[in-house]
Structures are given as C-alpha cells and as structure tokens.
Amino acid sequence: MQQFPCPFCGLRDEREFHFAGEAGKPRPDTTQPISDADWAKYLFYCANAKGASHEVWVHTTCQEYFVMTRDTVTMAVLGTHALHEVPA
C-alpha cells in the first residue's frame, strides 16, 4: 500500500488517489488540422518510463489534480507539485 503526498493535503493512502495520465501531454488545438497519427499519439501513446515517470494524479477526496514524479521500479515518490506550478 503506497502513500502519496497530495500537494494540498499532505501524505495520504493510495486508495484516495486516481491515476489521470502521463504529464506533459498538452491537448492539441483541435480547431486546427491534426493528423490521425498525431491524434493517436496524444490519445493512446505513453512513454511508460522505467524509472522516473511524470504523471498526473487526482486526490479524490479534495479533487485536486497534481503532478507526481514516481520511480516505476522502486515505487519511490520523487516529488509532487500542483498542476500549473512549475517546480523549482
């Protein structure tokens, strides 16, 4: 059972969180032409990094989305920050 630090609420049990996708995938401007390949890349493709992985999670009890960096090998949490905050 993992424990994740919500940037707003502090350390909480993993059951309070949902995974919401990999970080760093901005939504393309869909009012402009987008190729099928680019759209598929945005929709389906994940880096699925071995090691440090940047992910968006939501703390379901406060409903805030945030960015968490986790080591996918050791499961260690390397850091979290609010969604629109640029980490120092």
Binding site: E14, A20, R27, L43, E64, M75
Partner: protein, 930 residues
C-alpha cells in the same frame, strides 16, 4: 512403533486434556498442542494422502513449512477445509479428517492410483490440451483435483477486523535472535513491535542443543519481561504474510479455528527479520514415507510438545551440528543412529510407515527418520521487500545480500545458525551497527541421484518427483519459471517452502549447472495460506459500496414501494402490493392518461459557476452550449476524448455565469471527476468552479397530460405563462426557493420541481394529493424505464456500448458544424468514426402476437449458412401504452435499414423483427405540449 507422549517436558499443559477425533477415531491431546502434535502423540502415522497419487503421507514439519499434514476440520457444526495440522491449535471437540483419502488415510481406496503414476506424468494437462482431447480426462481430473472438501455451511460472523499500526522497529520472529533484537531496540527507547506466529514465543529456543546452561523457558521469559518493561509490544499467533510498497507489512493474527483472523497493516521505520530457517528434505528413493520428518521438526515435537517422534530413530543429515540433536533424542529414550545423507544408494523401506533405511550396503532398521539436507533461511519477506539473494556455497542455500536499508535479516534467516553469532547479529541490527563477522559454515552439497530407479520426491504436496523434473528438462522446460508451471513444483499451498531448493538442485544436476545459474522463482505474499476473509474484511457488502438514500424514502415506504438499487441509489421500483407486471402496467397508464408523480432526486445535479462557465460547458459538451440563453435548457452529450458517448442529459442556463448540469444518476461521481479534470487541465481554475449539488436538492417530477394543471395547483410558480418546453423558472415552495425545469423523459409535458431536502416531503405529499384529484399517482423507476423506451430515449451504458459515438444515436449536427473545440471532437473524424457499418440506434418491432425480444439477442445476417452478428437488442419491454412489445437495438448501418425485416438469434432460437424508428410512441412529439 511411532510417536510417544513423554511424561515430562514441553510447553503443553498435561492437566488440561482435549478430546477430538481423527477420521472418526477418538483421540486426546493437551492444551497447547497443535492438531499435528496431538496426532503424532496418539500414534497416528498417516496424516493424509497425497494430492495426485494418493501416497500415504505423514507429517514432515512441525510448523508452517509442513507440506503434508493438511486436514479438514469440523468444529461446532462448521467445516474448515485444508487446515495445516501443524499450525492449527487443538480445540475440544474438533473432528479432524484426512484429505484425499476415502474412507480414511490409513485405508484409502484410491491408493491404487499410485500404481498408475506413469500415466499421470508432469505436463499431462498441457499435452492433453493439444492431443488427443482434454475433455476425455477433464471429468476425472476435476473430481480428483483440489485438496480438502468445502462445506456447505455458512459461518455467520466470520469477519476480520482491520487495524492500522505504526512502530519504529518491527521485529518479526521471536526466536533467540528476534527476542534479543526486540529487547535491545526497546532498551534504546524506540517503539518496538515484536510479532511471532506461535502461541508460545521462543521460536527455536526450545530445541537448541548442546549449549551449556541454556534454560529456554527462563531465558525467553526474561527477554519478554525486558521488552515489555521498556514499552515494547508483543503479538503472538501473528504471522507477517507480506511486505508491500512503501514499507507496509501485513500481519495476520490467528484467533482459533472458526474465528476470522485480525489483519494489521503496519508501517514501520525499521524492520528486523528473524524468521529463522527450515530443514530441506533429503532427496532419495521413497523419501516421502510416513515417519520421515525433518530433523528440526523431530526435536521441536520433543521439546515443545513432549512428543518423541519414534523409538528407533535414524538421523539422516549432512549438517555438522547433528550430534547434539542425537543426544537430545537419546536422552528422551530413543535409540539413535546417525547416517550420512551423502551416502550413495539411499532408500527408505516400508510402505505405510518407514521401517528402515538403506545407505549403500548398510541397512538401518528404524521406525523414524529425521532428515535434513541443510537449513534453508526463510527469506520470503526479504524478497517481498525487494531484497536480493546470493548463493552461499558453504551453506548450500540462498542467503540475503543487498536490499532495502530499512530492513535487516538476522539469525537463521540470514544463514547464521550458531546461537552466539545470531545474538550478536541481533544486537547489531537493533542499534544499526555494522553486521558482525561470523564463523564459516560448510555442509556437503547434496544432489539427487539421477540413476536411481525409484521415485524420489521433491514437492510432497503436489507429488512432484525427480523424474518429473527430468521430463521437464527433456522437453526443454528448463527455466525455473517453466519448470514450476510444467511440473507444478512449488505451486501447492506451501508454495515450495521445502521443495524449492530440492527442485533447483535436481534441475542443476540435469543441466550440469550450479544452482545459482539455474536461478530461483519469485516469492510472493502471502507467506502462509490466509482466509480470503482477511483480504475482504470491511470491504464487504454495503461497507464496500454504501447505498445512496433518498430524502423521500420514508414517503415511498409509506406507499408500500418495492425498492431496488439503481446505479447505487435505493429507489422505489414500483408502488403497492401488486406484482411487478401489474404495477408497472398500471403506473404506465397513469403516466400516459393523467400524470406520473416521481422522485427524480437521484438525477445527478452539478453546478458550473464563474466567469468562464459558458466557455467551459461549451468545451465539455458535444452540443453547442455557447448559445444557450438564460432560462433555457438544452439536451446534450458529454464525450470522452475518444469520441465515445460518456454521458447524456440536459443542461440549464441560469445566467451567463451559472449553469446546472443534469447527468445520469448512476454516473454523477464519474461526470464530476471528468469535469474537474478538464476544468483544472484546460481552464483557469479560479474562473470556473464545479459543485456537485445532487445531495443538496430533492426533485419531484410531474409528467403527463395533467402535469400542467397539477403544477399550477402546487402554487410554486406565480405565473405559468410563457413557460415552454426546455426552459427553467424559479419559484417558491413553503417559503423556500424552488427550481422548476420543464424537461421530459417520458415524452409528455413534464416538470421537475427541485427544492431543499427539508421541504421535499411536503411537496411530495401535496403533489400526490393534488395529482390524485386529476387521476395522477406515484410512478416508480421501472415504469419510467418503459415510458422512456416508448419514446426511444436512451440510457447511456445500456443503449450505448464501448463504440457508440453521438452520430450513431442520430445526433450528427455538432459533429458536422460545431467550430469550437470540444472534448472528443477530433476522434469523431477518424476512419473508424466514418465507417458506414457503424452500429446505430434503431427500434425493433415484432410481428403481431409475438412475444418481446430478449435483451442481448443478436440481430444476425445469414450468409452462406453462417450467421454474422449485426448488433444486438439493448432494451426490450411490453409497452402498456402501445399494447405491443417494443425494443431498442444497436444495429450495423441500422438507420439505412428502416423497415427492413431482420433475423434475431438468441440462445439457439430464431426470431424475426422489423427495423423501426427508435421512437415508437408519439413520433410527432405533440404530447410534449399537450
């Protein structure tokens, strides 16, 4: 001759006899006995029959490493299958039955299977799957498979509690090393939790031999007192079953047969593993005969339970420290011979019980063999935590190497078998000092004799022999993971505790490799079998998924409502004491002829507020919402980014900065999460806010030809003029704000009146009272699903599937024309989205007099003698309004097939139907304004 209870010694209480039965025979043990120790003392030799060949099996171990003594136990009318006799505390009145044996373990009819072993080789199933046919053997195999027999009784109150704990130092195992580590750690002032799986703590302390002046019970008591006096906590009968992410361990506290265990989830800053080591069996011909026990088990029965395992004992071992054990057993009155386990041509004599041992040319007559091919550290938890193993040539086993810095392994579990060295290690671990050096330890390597004609057992519980491993090797199943699955080695309830190294050793010999080159399989929790209840615990029934309750529930109960669960809500299904069919028909008629009074409170109600609210709703809806005027309502879809229909419902515009979304009642939480996602990802979250107000409001829906009259009489709105369909008005009821939305899910004039929960009961009663004057009445959820189906209104998730896009439902305009970005937009223009063979929503009508179609029935095309599914029925009802069956279906290119006859196929039966518009009732929609 077999086991004998001694007059003295052990931790049992001879003043407290306990009566029980074994295969119907009356037996007696004492307080603090396990089932196995009591059976051994009662002279029982055959505890069970083996899984595959029904070989007679005695007990091998004295604790959780025993693979053989698996029994079914009935206690107080409840039977518990597959109990480990060695770890189950003996209780008055237990009826113990051996497994895999009929009529008893002593005389088992299927024992003849043992003669047929050549027909049940390793990989048998896999081969039968390929050729000739698994089904020839399946009934027989299924009957034979499994161990104990599951009872039919329900054990009420068998419920585990879950506790969450924290400590600075968790010490697992209360043998000499664990006790020392816990004591030392407690003395430094740390919060210490010491756990041990036995009832009496001390671990191997009682069987330590040849240590001058060692008085185990006194020493153990001193350590426990010291730990307690420094504030340390001690849990007995508690097994650490697994290590999970972020330093969490699961501890299971056993509370006796018939009582569910307590599960503790512990997070510890530091974990010290002192789980000890177990004997490996010696691999030789007929090494599974009853009366062959592990050396540690033989002395454990003697010292802990006062049971001498036999009278003429051969110790078959390669351990350098076997002599003191021989001395202990001699002092207890046994005639003891020590035989070198490295002897060639080893063979056990006897069938139902061992009668002798042949080692080369020598023959030793004995009634008991205590065997050990060396000690195997119990490093399961170390591996769970990600710790690595290294092969130790001297010890001929794997020992812990690198691992997490918060876990230390000490004593037997780290391969330190000498007492003094183990205690030094324990002290060092407690104060985080470096690991002290230890004296070398070397035993002779033992490899199975591949030339032996007889059967040499490796996995006792799953009946795997050296020949099975050789077969796997011959058929190229040489990786340890393949070997395991092909032969089922290590896959029984004991998970290979005793068979792992023996199996690796056999494969190493076959491949001409070293054991570390062969590798080892993965260790996974739980360390011992655990009742599933410990995993379920509080995640059960309504504790797992609490029901959502309506504020009006007492009102519905007063009307004799039949309740049902709809998407997590407990809602009235229909009213009155009639059968469902009669009640639903009556309620549908009420709705169509006068007015339905319904509880619409379960509908999800989400408010979107803020300066960017309008832009936000336009983005999250498929439909254009930017043009929705204050006081107006629009129906729309929310899509997932994949273009699939995620939810549908109406949205009302209160003003430019406030919108009220209605979503499916079962879907409100998911819609809320979906909206929050987009709000925080793509908008300035300080300029638009979302709030789920479902629980704050209750809604009374009035629908039918008399709805307008009834609403007028309620006095909620002062002025009913200029209140067209799809608009919103505010009024008051009982002095409180009331919101009236004119929307319809039945096709008739309909109003949803929403008020605070505090006044809704008054509104409901008044609506019923007024309604009754006009022929209206309460209508439940079942009739509502019929009414909406008559109109072809969909339920997302029922009438849509994982491929449905809005244009499949006949809503194609925004896809073609909406210019602003919206969620899912680009996905609506892929090749897949444009396919002409997409499944589309249609209605189905059946021939006159035909019954309604089954839901899930396939619409099929018959081409060249084969059937191909074109889609399936999603909704089907007998329509009381139309007096005929109606159905909705998703059918390939269904919109182009209007009026075409189609074949329906369901569970081998053929039906016919005609593709029709989804809306079967009032297609012109005149009733909406009637």
């Amino acid at each position: 001759m077999s086991g004998v209870r001694r007059d003295k010694g052990g931790l049992i209480d001879r003043s407290k006899p306990i009566r029980f039965t074994f295969d119907g025979r009356a037996c007696q043990g004492f307080e603090a006995d396990t089932v196995a120790s009591a059976l051994l003392a009662a002279g029982v030799r055959i505890f069970a029959r083996s899984f595959k060949y029904h070989r007679p099996r005695g007990v091998w171990g004295a604790w959780s490493d025993d693979p053989n003594a698996v029994v079914d136990i009935a206690l107080d009318g409840i039977s518990f299958p597959n109990c480990q006799a060695t770890t189950t505390t003996l209780t008055e009145g237990m009826a113990v039955r051996s497994i895999n044996a009929w009529p008893s373990a002593q005389r088992d009819v299927k024992g003849v299977l043992d003669l047929a072993h050549r027909f049940l080789p390793a990989g048998f199933y896999y081969k039968m799957f390929m050729w000739p046919d698994w089904h020839l053997f399946e009934p027989m195999i299924r009957k034979m498979a499994g161990l104990g027999t599951l009872g039919q009784e329900v054990s009420d109150g068998f419920q585990s509690a879950v506790l969450h704990e924290h400590c600075e130092v968790l010490v697992i195992g209360a043998g000499p090393a664990g006790l020392t580590a816990a004591r030392e750690a407690a003395q430094t002032g740390k919060s210490v939790l010491l756990v041990d799986d036995q009832a009496e703590l001390g671990g191997s302390a009682y069987r330590i031999a040849g240590q001058a002046g060692w008085q185990a019970p006194d020493w153990v008591a001193e350590q426990l007192a010291a730990i307690r006096s420094h504030g340390g906590r001690i849990l007995n009968r508690t097994t650490a079953i697994g290590v999970y992410d972020h330093q969490m361990l699961s501890l299971v506290t056993e509370r006796g047969l018939g009582t569910a265990p307590v599960l503790r989830k512990v997070r510890a800053d530091q974990v010290i593993l002192a789980t000890g080591a177990i004997d490996r069996p010696v691999t030789f011909e007929n090494n599974d005969r009853p009366g062959i026990l592990s050396l540690e088990a033989g002395t454990e029965y003697l010292n802990r339970y006062g049971v001498r395992p036999g009278s003429r004992i051969a110790i078959l071992s390669n351990r350098p420290d076997a002599t003191p054990y021989a001395t202990q057993l001699s002092e207890a009155g046994a005639l003891v011979t020590v035989v070198d386990a490295a002897s060639a041509g080893l063979k056990a004599l006897g069938r139902a019980s061992v009668r002798g041992l042949i080692a080369g040319k020598d023959r030793f007559d004995c009634d008991t063999v205590l065997a050990s091919a060396g000690l195997t550290p119990l490093i399961h938890l170390w591996r769970h935590a990600g710790g690595k193993l290294a092969w130790d040539e001297g010890r001929q086993t794997f020992v812990p190497s690198e691992g997490p810095d918060w876990m230390r392994v000490i004593g037997g579990a780290s391969g330190t078998f000498a007492l003094d060295a183990a205690l030094d290690e324990a002290t060092a671990a407690a104060i985080k000092a470096p690991v002290p050096a230890r004296a070398p330890y070397a035993i002779a390597p033992l490899r199975p004799d591949l030339s032996s004609k007889g059967r040499q057992w490796i996995d006792f519980q799953h009946d795997v022999t050296v020949k099975d491993v050789a077969l796997a090797h011959r058929e190229n199943m040489v990786s340890v993971e393949h070997l395991k699955r092909y032969t089922t080695l290590g896959m029984a309830g004991d998970q290979g505790k005793t068979s792992n190294i023996a199996g690796l050793s056999a494969m190493a010999e076959l491949k001409g490799q070293s054991i570390p080159d062969v590798g080892t399989t993965t260790f996974r929790p739980p360390f011992v079998p655990v009742p599933l209840e410990a995993y379920r615990s509080t995640r059960r029934d309504r504790q797992m998924q609490p029901l959502k309750r309506l504020a009006l529930e007492p009102e519905h109960r007063a009307l004799d409502a039949a309740f049902g669960e709809y998407g997590g809500w407990l809602r009235p299904a229909w009213y009155g004491t009639d059968t469902e069919q009669v009640a639903v028909r009556r309620e549908c008629q009420t709705a169509r002829e006068a007015a339905a009074i319904m509880d619409g409170s379960a509908l999800g109600t989400i408010e979107v507020v803020g300066p960017d609210a309008r832009a936000f709703v336009n983005f999250v809806y498929y439909n254009t919402m930017s043009t929705l005027k204050p006081g107006k309502i629009r129906y729309g879809f929310m899509l997932a980014e994949s273009g699939l229909v995620f939810d549908d419902g109406v949205m009302a515009c209160v003003d430019d900065t406030r919108f009220i979304i209605s979503c499916s009642s079962s879907h409100a939480d998911a819609v809320m999460a979906h909206l929050e996602n987009w709000r925080q990802d793509s908008f300035d979250p300080s300029r638009v806010h979302i709030h789920d107000t479902t629980a704050n409001w209750s809604t009374v829906t009035i629908a039918g030809p008399k709805a307008q009259t009834i609403l007028k009489a309620l006095g909620v709105l002062e002025d009913m003029a200029d209140f067209p369909h799809m608009s919103l008005r505010f009024g008051t009821f009982a002095g409180e704000e009331a919101r009236v939305a004119r929307v319809s899910f039945t096709g008739d004039t309909s109003y949803e009146v929403s008020v605070r929960n505090t006044v809704v009961a008054r509104l409901w009663r008044k609506a019923l009272e007024v309604g009754a004057q006009h022929g209206g009445g309460p209508v439940g959820a079942e009739a509502l699903t019929v009414l909406r189906a008559e109109k072809g209104y969909i339920l997302v998730g029922k009438d849509t599937d994982g491929e449905t896009m809005p244009h499949d439902l006949g809503f194609a305009a925004p896809r073609a024309r909406k210019s602003a970005a919206f969620v899912g937009d680009r996905s609506l223009h892929t090749a897949k989205a444009n396919e002409e063979t997409r499944k589309q929503l249609v209605g189905l009508s059946v021939p006159d007099g035909a019954p309604k179609l089954p839901i899930g029935a396939h619409v099929v095309a018959e081409e060249g003698g084969t059937r191909r599914s074109l889609g399936y029925v999603t909704t089907s009802h007998d329509s009381p309004t139309l007096n005929r069956p109606i159905a909705l279906a998703l059918v390939e290119a269904g919109q182009q097939a209007m009026g075409n006859p189609v074949k329906i196929w369901h569970l081998g039966q053929s039906h016919t139907a005609t593709i029709a518009p989804a809306c079967a009732f009032d297609p012109e929609g005149v009733r909406i304004d009637a």
